[in-house]
């Protein structure tokens, strides 16, 4: 199978500006930014931010019906013509995550699921054992599984082997805004993966999103960094630009890091003035 590094090389040789198209789950998307709908102060703020982000895929969760709830995120999403990616947020076991995925399939008439199986409520780190179990079961049931995972190259490979349509390593804890704490692991995951890699969780500011793309990720999934920004709409636009810039930079090929200076102005022809 052609490795992601080979494909990136191929893409680089026919490089262009802009963010290109994302191949994910057997479909082609015009945006490499996936936006979560949680944490916005209002549905109106969410709508403006989603538009500014240019995203085509947004995540939603499932919770018990609340008769007092006003407005519906789904109405906004449908009005904007965006693809609904349900998640299994809040699930601690493979059993709960699988059941939630089946509910989501019924609610949204989609086989796509952002699989989250968390280990504790302080870190919200994935529970690797439960995650693999759930991924295997959901792939077997015909789901397009997009797992939120640790920045662990071995676990990422296991998820790919399980048949997941992508791997989505965290940069740092969900909602922490701490950026990408282990870029080397993300780089290794990218090198080895033959499915799309989407950096999911931890993005705080656009430079984090640009770094994810420069490391070779195929996309970025973020939520809090936009939803909880002072001006979500403006931040969403900045994230869009960052993803596009990072993608273009990856394909443009950055210069290697060197310890010492290398003059960009030639010495030849320097006049004798002394």
């Amino acid at each position: 199978m052609q490795s992601k590094a080979d494909r990136n090389q191929a893409a680089a040789s026919s490089s262009s500006t802009g963010a290109g198209e994302l191949e994910l789950g057997g479909r082609t998307w015009g945006s490499r930014l996936i936006v979560g709908t949680g944490g916005f102060r209002s549905l109106a703020a969410m709508e403006r931010a989603l538009v500014a982000s240019g995203t085509e895929i947004v995540t939603v969760a499932l919770r018990r019906v609340d008769p007092l709830a006003r407005g519906s995120a789904l109405e906004v999403i449908d009005r904007l013509g965006l693809f609904t990616l349900p998640n299994t947020a809040g699930c601690y076991t493979a059993r709960d995550a699988v059941r939630t995925a089946h509910l989501a399939r019924e609610a949204f008439e989609t086989d796509w699921i952002k699989l989250e199986v968390i280990g504790d409520d302080r870190t919200l780190f994935p529970d690797a054992v439960e995650l693999i179990d759930a991924a295997l079961e959901l792939v077997d049931a015909g789901f397009t599984v997009l797992p939120y995972t640790n920045d662990d190259p071995i676990l990422a490979r296991r998820l790919e082997d399980a048949g997941c349509a992508a791997v989505m390593p965290l940069g740092s804890p969900i909602g922490s805004g701490m950026g990408i704490r282990n870029p080397y692991n993300v780089q290794i995951i990218v090198e080895r993966a033959s499915v799309p890699v989407v950096l999911d969780a931890g993005i705080g500011t656009p430079s984090d999103a640009a770094l994810a793309m420069e490391l070779g990720c195929d996309g970025v999934l973020l939520s809090s960094s936009v939803a909880r920004a002072k001006d979500p709409e403006r931040m969403a636009g900045a994230m869009r630009q960052a993803v596009e810039a990072g993608y273009a930079a990856r394909r443009a090929g950055r210069i290697p890091r060197k310890l010492h200076a290398q003059a960009s102005t030639p010495d030849a022809g320097l006049p004798e003035l002394g």
Binding site: P67, A73, R99, L103, A107
Partner: protein, 68 residues
């Protein structure tokens, strides 16, 4: 009969269906984005009308909410 509906004990007439219970939650008018599980198993929308609830059963009615 009493059923557990979204974590609350709710009195429903004997022979009540899943569709009746969904009405009880206020989610009946909603289209896409609502799903039901009885005893942890999904009941498809097309089966709501004919699926009768049994006393003491646990039923969850969920809908889309904002989430990351």
């Amino acid at each position: 009969m009493i059923v557990e509906l979204n974590g609350r004990s709710v009195e429903l007439p004997a022979g009540a269906t899943v569709a009746d219970a969904v009405i009880e939650t206020g989610a009946a008018g909603e289209g896409r984005g609502v799903a039901v599980a009885v005893e942890g198993e999904v009941v498809r929308r097309a089966e709501w009308e004919e699926t009768k609830l049994q006393p003491g059963q646990n039923m969850e009615v969920v809908r889309a909410v904002q989430g990351g």
